[in-house]
């Protein structure tokens, strides 16, 4: 399980910036100003984690149980909450109510994994969902132009094989993009610039953590 330090944030959109040597770097901007809302401990919950919250939630939109929880933690209501599993020592560094600063968690050049919910495209046909070619638009094709064609053989094996690509729900899935490089950290504006694309629409919630397949993705010198 990914136990590396991370934050939750809001995807702002994509832009590009210039490197020192003038090359253009495409990057996604994430705004992250999370607050530690609660902690989970081995003694009480059986595991260690910190609960981060971002955004503001109006009082009238806060259910009474949730309002009670926020009041108990002495934190103003937050729109989105996520638990991040972490070692106990890391959790000990943060107090409930404390803001997580981006420059404490990430450094430039580091690798991160980004989790988000991909843009939903609803129930889509095979051309959009699996990049099928479809059929010919001419030569007498009739009501079969965006179909997928055959899905199996006749007698052998006499059934459609499992995993056949067919129409269905496309997008709106939780996805992670691994090993994206952090281009820039701007702690004053709570902005994180990540090279390349990340899942989700603009303003959607994303979870950014140290890259699990690169030992947290810290630069080699560190």
């Amino acid at each position: 399980m990914n136990q590396y330090p991370g934050v939750i944030g809001r995807k702002v959109g994509m832009t590009q910036i210039f490197n020192a040597d003038g090359t253009v770097v495409p990057c996604t901007v994430v705004e992250a100003r999370p607050v530690v809302v609660a902690k989970r401990t081995q003694a009480q919950d059986g595991y260690d984690a910190i609960v981060l919250g971002i955004g503001e939630r109006k009082e009238k939109h806060t259910s009474k149980p949730l309002a009670g929880f926020f009041k108990k933690q002495n934190v103003s209501p937050r729109r989105s909450l996520r638990e991040l599993r972490c070692p106990a020592e890391y959790a000990a560094k943060y107090e409930v109510g404390q803001e997580v600063r981006l420059d404490e968690v990430f450094s430039e050049g580091q690798f991160v994994d980004v989790q988000g919910v991909s843009i939903g495209r609803g129930f889509s046909g095979v051309m959009r969902r699996h990049n099928f070619k479809g059929q010919s638009q001419t030569h007498g094709t009739h009501e079969y132009e965006r179909h997928g064609g055959a899905i199996g053989t006749n007698m052998t094996p006499g059934r459609t094989l499992p995993g056949m690509k067919m129409p269905g729900q496309h997008g709106n899935r939780t996805l992670s993009v691994l090993n994206q490089r952090v281009v820039k950290v701007i702690p004053d504006q709570n902005l994180l610039l990540i090279r390349g694309g990340i899942p989700g629409s603009r303003n959607s919630l994303v979870v950014v953590r140290g890259a699990i397949k690169r030992r947290g993705g810290m630069p080699k010198s560190a």
Binding site: G13, T15, V29
Partner: protein
């Protein structure tokens, strides 16, 4: 710039160069472009007619066309790139279009652009 998030607009604003001359489509410019080869770097000048300006903040580009040894050469530059040492405005041209793609089909005398000075 109007329909992007204010945060992005702010980020991009900081990257925009203000030292470039205000050149337009049809103008003749000389672009001094820094080229890095290994650990050496030198400045190359590309001189030609601006046939397109893609105005998109920091993401904007412009295309310069010249005819070199009877071969048309076009180069697309990122307007705000730090690799552009400077842009020299050689002469202003008078054109009626925003995109001068028609120059590709013309050659010699027909491919000239009226100079703003002669007007």
């Amino acid at each position: 710039m109007s329909n992007i998030a204010p945060i992005l607009a702010g980020l991009e604003q900081s990257q925009i160069r203000t030292d470039l001359p205000a050149f337009r489509v049809g103008d003749t410019v000389a672009v001094h472009y820094r080229i890095v080869e290994g650990d050496k770097q030198r400045i190359q000048v590309f001189r030609g007619t601006v046939i397109k300006r893609h105005r998109a903040g920091t993401r904007g580009t412009f295309t310069v066309r010249k005819v070199s040894f009877n071969v048309g050469v076009e180069r697309i530059f990122v307007t705000h790139s730090p690799r552009i040492e400077k842009v020299e405005l050689v002469s202003r041209g008078v054109v009626r279009r925003a995109r001068l793609y028609y120059l590709r089909n013309l050659s010699g005398k027909a491919a000239r652009i009226k100079d703003a000075k002669d007007r």
